[in-house]
Every structure is written in C-alpha cells, then in structure tokens.
C-alpha cells in the first residue's frame, strides 16, 4: 500500500471538474491513509523514513486546510506535526497509547474533511472533540505517554469513508469486446469451407487432366485447342485460391489476436489491486487487538495481486469476519503466548495470489488454533450428527461443521464475533461467487482459512447443456459430476425415479419440467448433470451435454427483476443466447415442486390426464413457510377439486404469482425474505394483478392485525385456528366459486 499509488490514482483523473473543497477532501482522505499506514508501521518498528512521511502528510494537510479556510483542521494537523517532530528529535517515544491518540486524531481529521462547507471555519459538531484531541496531543511530549488523556476508544464499526472510487467500467464495453472476439472466431468455419472448396477444385483439375490426356490420344485438333484453352484459363485459379486462403488465415489470426487482447484489456479494467480494497483492515485488527489486550500484527502479502473489483467488494465483509475471528478466538493473550513459548506479538497473515487461474486467499494466524476434539464435542452436544458417526469423523470432516449457520465454539457470544454469524457468512459468500473455502488447524499452532475464487465474475467457466433444443449453462463449480447412463438403469421407488450411483440413491428430475419448458423426447441414453450438496443432491436430466466453455457473463436486463432459476445470460460461439442457471435457486425449485407432488420424472410416464381439461379448473396459490400448514391447505383445497400449487415464502410466492395465471392467492403473514403484507403490496401495485383475490391466513387474529391485512388490500382475513371447520373452503368458494366454473354452488 504505497502512498505513491494512492496519489497517482487520485491525481491521474481529470480534476478540472472538481471544486477546491472536493480536492481538499480527496487529499485529506489520501493523507489520512498515509498517516494510518505510517502509524500502524511505526508501532512495530519506528524508522526515520516513516516518521518523515507522516510529518509531511500532516504538514500538507495543514497547508491544504488553510487554503479552504478550515481553522480547526489547521490546528489539529499542526499539533500532529509537532508530535512527529518531537519523535524525530527523540524527545518523544511513540508507544501504543501515543499511536491511539494519533489514530484518534486521524479519524477526526477524516470526519472533519467531510463536513459541509458551512461548518468549515469552526469545525461544526466536532469542535469539542477537536479541543479534546488537541489536549491529548499536547500531553504526549511531556508525559511521554505516561498519562495520556483518555480518548474515547475508536469505534471499530464506523469505517472511515473511502476516497471517491473511479466509476466501475461499463459492462457494455465487455459485451462489445466479447462480440468482436465472437465475430473473429466465426471466420474459422469460413476458412474451413475455403479449404474444402480447394480440395474440390483439385479434384476438378485432376479430372480435367485426364480429359486432356484422352483428347490427346484422339488427336482431334479442335478439341485439342479447346482443351489447351481450358488448361490455360484454369491455371491461375489454383494460385489465386491458394493466395486467398493464406490471406484469409492471416486476417483471421490478426482479428482473433486483436479481439482477444481487447477482451483481456477490458477485463483488466475491471481489476484492481487486492490491497486497494483492504485499507480498513490493518487498522481494524490493531484496534480490536488492543481492546482485547492482545498484541497482534497483520501482514498483508500479495497486495498487488489483481482482483475483479466486484469480487473485492464482496470479499471485504468475509475477510473482516475472518480477521475478527482470528483476533478474538485464535489469538492468545501475551501471557498465554509466553507460557506456550511463542513471541508475545501474534501474527496474522493475509495472503493473496493467483493460482491456476484462480484467486487464492489465505488467512492464517499463529494462535491457539481449533481443537478438533472440541468441535467433536460441540457437534455431539448439538446433535448435528448421530453419536456413532461423530466419533468416526476425521479432522477435516469435523472442520466442515464450522461452516454451519449458528455453529460457534465460543460459549459466550460477544460483540466481536461468536454470534453464530461467523464462518457461515464466509461460506455463503464464497459459494455465491462460485468458489470454495477450506479451513485447517493445528491445535496450539494456528488456524488457516483458504478461499479459492474465480479471478473475475465477468467470465464464468460453465458446463453447457441442451434442454429442449435450447442452451443452458451451469457454473462448473456447481456441477458435481456428469453421467451418461442407459435409460434402462433408472429405477423407480415409491413413484420417484433414481439411479444407483456409488451405492447411494440419486433422485432424477427432468430439467425441462423443473424449468417448466416442456417434455423431452424419450431417449435410450440419459445425460445426467449432478448438482447440489451431500444433503440435497439431484441428477438433472438434460437432452445433451455440449461441453465446458468460458462464457462472458451478461447480467440480465434490470427490467426483468429476478428471473426464477436464472442467474445471467451469455452468448455461445455461434451467437446464440445461453441462460446461466442459478443452481441454489433451482435446488429450491426442485424441492418445492417435489413437495407439491409434481412429477419431475424424466422417463415418460403416463401422461397427466387431460391437461386441457384441467385448465378450466380454478387455480390457487398457497404461500406459507410452514410445511404443515401448506400441506393441510393444499390437501383441503385439492380435495375440493381446486388445482393447488405452493410457494415457500413471499419472494417465492411473488415469482409464482407473476409467472402463472391464478384465481386466488392464499398467504401467511410471517414469512422469511418477504412477508405476506409485502407480497400483498406488490400484487396490488401490479396493474395486471390488482384484481387478483388474495386471502390472508394467519395465527394473528387480533383486530389490529386483521385491519392491517385488509388495509393492505386482502380480500379476506382468516385466523389459522379456523381450519377444522369448513371456514377456509367456504371463504374460498365465496371469493372465487367452486373448483370448476361450470358447477354452481
């Protein structure tokens, strides 16, 4: 994190459009970063160069603040400069307490730089704090840190605002570059056809040659003359064909290499240095360690490794969580460390590097590590696995449990970590980016987390498959394996079809049915893509597996909102669109459809009786997060002849509501992701759905709940207790009539 880089990044831009105050703010942020880095460094080993750079930073800030007329900032920077000078002269030793005071001053500087213009001359709301910090700074040279004024501990949760980041490069550029590469690649088949043409030409020439010989034997002068003419005319054709092919190949090489470089350059625009996204972390580790009475140093290695900006942004929260874990759980107190024969200063290494086209990030510490036996006990205590299995689990297998939501070894949750939102957050984020995460630990030696991610999210390595003649892609990280099996090896158990794979049952579902695209033609061999995790694994039956490809991702038009089961789109080499599937979403879809009793079987079973006739039946969507309630409602209504489908929560429900034609929606109120009132609000705001009848069924039966539901636009409010009598069915009949429109009550 060199300061040169920060400055060049800030000043390479065209600055003519910024006001003086904007410029001051940018400079203040950059200087604050130099000061923070310098202070953190000086705590470990104070060298003259660092002091010098900090003094210059304070001095420059002072000058800049004077230009924009910010008197309190001038005084503050001046006081800081004094401290650095004193340290240079040796009359002051910067210890941890002194660094605390100075870091507090830097924070204040940052906050003041963001004040509105009117507050500049007097420091606005920070005036009192300025005086406090000034007093603390003044106390430093005399007492040499013996009795520093108590500065309020810097709140860890409030990160200093980042300097204005350059705008993210437009995706349009990548799309166009990808298109250029696609066009260049399309020259290849054309050149192949030229080669084919040349071979045909050669055959024609051979035939001509034979004809010529035959004519010579006959000795007819007229024919001989004509044959000579044909030969003469044909001769240049050979050469020109040859030349055309060579030129075309040259052109194709040039076009491909330029287009490929173009794509690479555009991708590079999306990249930034790993270190650029982590300015807050060393400071956070230091403050946190001090508040816990520990001595910890963060070493960042490979901070100039290039990372996709979008990836880096998403990395920030999980990395900070890992570092908090390391400081809080991993690191021992200095006394404990001394007893274990380790240096008092603990070290956390944050290392980023490229490995095999992937970005590998290691967070390792030399703390106490995790005792696998403690994990084993915790797993057993929480009954996460049967006792017999718990005893047999290996070390790495036990480590996997640390990623479960709510799993924490720490007995008392504190504000730093251990609320049960630790490693599972990291795991979810990494998975959403198509990466993997692994932890390993040697008790007493330390703990290491390794995250492996694709370097960019703009290009995804994917398995392309065909479903009913159209191309779909699954991120390769989400595909467990691909199988090709004869249709006769499919077995059926209680109505579900499955395959025997390595001794376990793999449930088969038809991709066409999951995606509601239609029925595939039966074939003698099934192409099966295995997706999911150990707990929930399915074999997705597709028409054809086309192979692995690198796809340039195009986000779907924002107007679409979230499309169920689809993550994004891309173009294949021949220019045809391909939809990249959202595998977690699909697993949810599959679970939902199976639960609703839908047949997702790939092999042709008996066709659903009279699909056409069923269209006339009234359709009801039941939205509830409780399986029991959902099933009860479904059975009740289905028994009356209604066609019922279910959704697991509000978002799922909203997707279904938009996707199908419904006669009635029955929804719960309390649901994750989107509650019933929210769902109702969306339905009522949609011009096409405004008049769709909606019934609320809820445990809440206080009058105010009822009023709230009806106010949001519900047509009927039913308390859940009222199921057992026919209230639900009566209410449904009142709202939409009997199951078949033909019948009347």
């Amino acid at each position: 994190m060199s300061m040169d880089h920060d400055f060049s990044a800030a000043f390479d831009q065209d600055l003519s459009s910024f006001s003086m105050l904007d410029l001051f703010r940018m400079e203040a942020q950059a200087q604050a970063r130099v000061l923070t880095d310098g202070l953190l460094r000086s705590e470990r080993a104070l060298d003259a160069a660092t002091l010098e750079s900090m003094m210059r930073a304070a001095h420059s800030t002072k000058g800049a603040a004077a230009i924009v007329g910010m008197a309190p900032m001038v005084t503050l920077a001046h006081a800081m400069e004094d401290v650095f000078i004193a340290a240079q002269q040796g009359s002051l030793v910067l210890d941890a307490a002194g660094v605390d005071v100075l870091l507090g001053a830097v924070d204040l500087m940052r906050r003041m730089a963001d004040l509105p213009e009117a507050d500049l001359p007097d420091g606005g709301p920070h005036a009192a704090q300025v005086a406090e910090v000034l007093a603390a700074l003044a106390a430093l040279p005399n007492g040499a840190g013996a009795a520093p004024a108590p500065i309020a501990p810097v709140p860890v949760a409030e990160p200093a605002p980042a300097a204005p980041a350059p705008p993210p490069p437009r995706n349009e550029l990548l799309t166009l570059a990808g298109q250029a590469r696609l066009h260049a690649a399309q020259l290849r088949p054309w050149i192949e056809s030229l080669h084919r043409y040349k071979r045909q030409q050669r055959a024609v020439f051979t035939a001509l040659e034979q004809l010529h010989e035959a004519i010579e034997e006959r000795g007819d002068p007229r024919l001989l003359e004509l044959a000579r003419l044909v030969q003469e005319r044909a001769r240049p054709l050979r050469r020109s064909m040859q030349r055309n092919i060579l030129e075309a190949e040259q052109y194709e090489r040039n076009a491909t290499s330029v287009a490929t470089r173009l794509v690479d350059e555009v991708l590079e625009l999306h990249m930034c240095r790993f270190g650029d996204g982590l300015h807050g972390l060393p400071r956070m580790v230091r403050d946190l360690a001090r508040s816990l009475g520990k001595e910890v140093r963060l070493d960042v290695i490979g901070d100039d490794t290039l990372v996709d900006r979008a990836v880096l942004v998403r990395l920030e929260a999980p990395l900070s969580q890992l570092l908090r874990n390391a400081v809080d759980h991993g690191m021992e107190t200095p006394a404990e460390r001394a007893a274990a024969g380790k240096p008092a200063l603990g070290t956390i290494r944050l290392e980023a590097r490229h490995r095999g086209g992937m970005l590998a990030i290691d967070v390792s510490d030399d703390g106490r590590g995790v005792d696998t036996e403690r994990v084993r006990r915790a797993v057993a205590a929480r009954r996460l696995a049967p006792a017999g299995i718990v005893q047999a689990l290996s070390g790495p297998e036990l480590m996997e449990f640390l990623f479960l939501p709510g799993f924490s070894l720490k007995e008392d949750a504190n504000e730093i970590s251990g609320r049960g939102v630790g490693l599972d957050v990291v795991h979810d984020m990494v998975q959403s980016q198509n990466g993997t995460v692994r932890v390993e630990s040697a008790p007493g030696q330390g703990f290491r987390t390794t995250i492996v991610l694709p370097v960019t999210q703009s290009i995804v390595r994917a398995l392309v498959v065909e479903v009913l003649g159209e191309a779909y892609a699954l991120p390769i990280a989400r595909v467990e394996r691909v199988l090709r099996v004869p249709a006769c090896s499919v077995q059926t158990l209680s109505g579900r079809q499955y395959l025997d794979v390595d001794g376990s049952h793999l449930g088969l579902v038809s991709a066409g049915r999951v995606l509601e695209l239609g029925e595939a033609l039966p074939s003698a061999e099934l192409a099966v893509v295995v997706i999911g995790s150990a707990r929930e694994r399915y074999g997705l039956v597709v028409d054809q597996v086309c192979g692995e490809q690198s796809l340039t991702v195009q986000p779907l038009e924002p107007m679409f909102g979230k499309l169920r089961d689809v993550a994004s789109s891309a173009l294949l080499d021949d220019g045809a669109p391909v939809l990249i599937l959202d595998v977690p979403d699909m697993l949810l879809s599959i679970a939902r459809l199976l639960e609703a009793g839908a047949s997702l079987q790939p092999a042709p079973g008996t066709p659903e009786p009279g699909r056409g006739a069923q269209q006339a039946v009234r359709r009801i969507l039941v939205v509830d997060d409780s399986l029991t309630v959902r099933e009860m409602q479904r059975k009740l209504l289905a028994a009356r002849g209604y066609r019922v489908e279910v959704a697991l929560d509000g978002i799922d429900g909203w997707n279904s509501v938009r996707a199908g034609a419904w006669d009635l929606v029955i929804t719960d109120i309390d649901m994750p992701r989107l509650d019933g009132i929210g769902l109702l609000g969306r339905i009522r705001q949609d011009p096409r759905l405004q008049r769709l009848p909606v019934m609320i069924v809820s445990y809440k039966d206080r009058p105010e709940d009822r009023a709230r539901g009806l106010e949001a636009g519900a047509d009927y409010y039913l308390a859940k207790g009222a199921f057992h009598d026919a209230t639900l069915l009566d209410a449904v009949r009142d709202l939409i009539g009997e199951a078949s429109p033909g019948e009347s009550a």
Binding site: E516, P558, M559, S569, G575, L579, R658, A659, P687
Partner: protein
C-alpha cells in the same frame, strides 16, 4: 397526318400475316414500326391542348401538408402498425429466440442476441391480440422479417415484425381516431391512425406501450 397501324392488322397484334415478321420476329424490330413512332412523336400539337397544359402548370403548387412528427411503420400479421420514431432504436436481422424458464406462453417470447447484447424479445402480436397465422405473403414485393428494437426508458426490447416499411412523417393534428378497421386489435394501446398516400398504419401510444411492456417483463 395518318399513321398506318399495320402492326394491328397484319403484325403481332393482328393476324401475323405480314411477310416481314419472318425476318423481324416482332414488330418492334421492324423499321416501319420505328418510323411510325418517330412520326407520332413529331406530330404538331394543337393550340387548345397547349393552353390546357399552360393553365395547369401556371397554377401555384398547393403547399405540402405540414408534418411535425414521425413514426416507424412495420407490419405484424396483416396489420400495419407504427411507433413514435423516438422509441425505435434500431432494426436487426431475425435471430433465434431463447425461451425463459417458467415464463413461457405469454407475450414475453424470451431473450435474443441483438448485436452482442442479450435483449428481451416480446411478441406484439400476442400483446395486441393480432392473429398472425395464415397471413399470406404480400404480392409483388419481398417481405423480410426483422427484429425491431424499441428503447423504452433506456431499456431495449426486441420485437419480431413481419416486415419493416420505414419512417412515415405525419402531422400531429392529422392523426385520426382508431378506425373500425383496426377496432378488433387491442385498441386500448392505439393512439390513432396515421396515413400517407402509400400506407395507413395504427399508431401505438408510446407511454401505454411502455407501461404494458414493463409490466410484462417484471
């Protein structure tokens, strides 16, 4: 001056008994025919005829009808329709449309590649209830299917059309209310009917179309 129209008597339009026919095959190759044509063109013009034309040509030309708006005209099924030119972003050759999971069957056809961008494709025929089945190909000209790309609030949407006509300039005041001829298609989206000498088209209301398409995609 009398011209002997021998080609009508004994030539190709007559009984074809002219001996010259064997050599010339058709009267237009014969010198007699060419000579008659020359003489016809050099015939003196009567004064009355000249005066009629002089009067006609001396009349000032009527000013062209003022036009203050333009629309892009295209055909869907048998219906000629138009959208304000501001909404028409570009026209692209037809391309295969990829269906969307869970969203089939409506006016939203899927997504399509237009110049490297994956855009939503919408069937105006389904949206407006126009029957495209069994519409015969137009006589006397080639009709090329196209993708008309509409731009609505920065969002591009591709619409397959049977044929493009081009830009039609019209006067805002001359827009007629939707006529009975167009009454059977989803007339709530129609702002009126515009026409020039060559064509008559139903003008779609930009704002209503925008709302309808946005609702369809969500």
């Amino acid at each position: 001056m009398i011209i002997d129209d021998c080609w009508r008597r004994i030539g190709v339009t007559g009984d074809r008994s002219c001996p010259e026919l064997e050599r010339h095959i058709h009267c237009r190759n014969c010198a007699v025919y060419a000579d008659a044509a020359q003489r016809n063109l050099q015939r003196p013009v009567e004064p009355a005829y000249r005066e009629t034309w002089a009067r006609e040509l001396s009349r000032p030309e009527p000013p062209p009808a003022p036009t203050d708006a333009a629309a892009m005209v295209f055909r869907i099924g048998a219906e000629w329709l138009a959208v304000p030119v501001a909404l028409a972003a570009t026209v692209a050759p037809p391309a295969p449309i990829h269906r969307l999971p869970h969203r089939s069957g409506g006016a939203l056809l899927g997504v399509v590649n237009v110049g490297g961008r994956v855009l939503p494709a919408v069937s105006l025929a389904a949206l407006l209830g126009i029957d495209t089945a069994g519409v015969p190909a137009p006589m006397g000209r080639h009709a090329f299917e196209r993708l008309l790309v509409l731009e609505l609030q920065g969002q591009r949407i591709a619409v397959p059309v049977a044929e493009m006509h081009g830009i039609l300039r019209y006067a805002g005041a001359a827009v007629r209310p939707p006529a009975a001829t167009l009454g059977h298609i989803g007339s709530r989206l129609l702002a009126g009917v515009i026409a020039d000498s060559a064509i008559e088209a139903g003008l779609l209301d930009g704002a209503l179309l925008e709302g309808e398409l946005a609702g369809l995609l969500r």
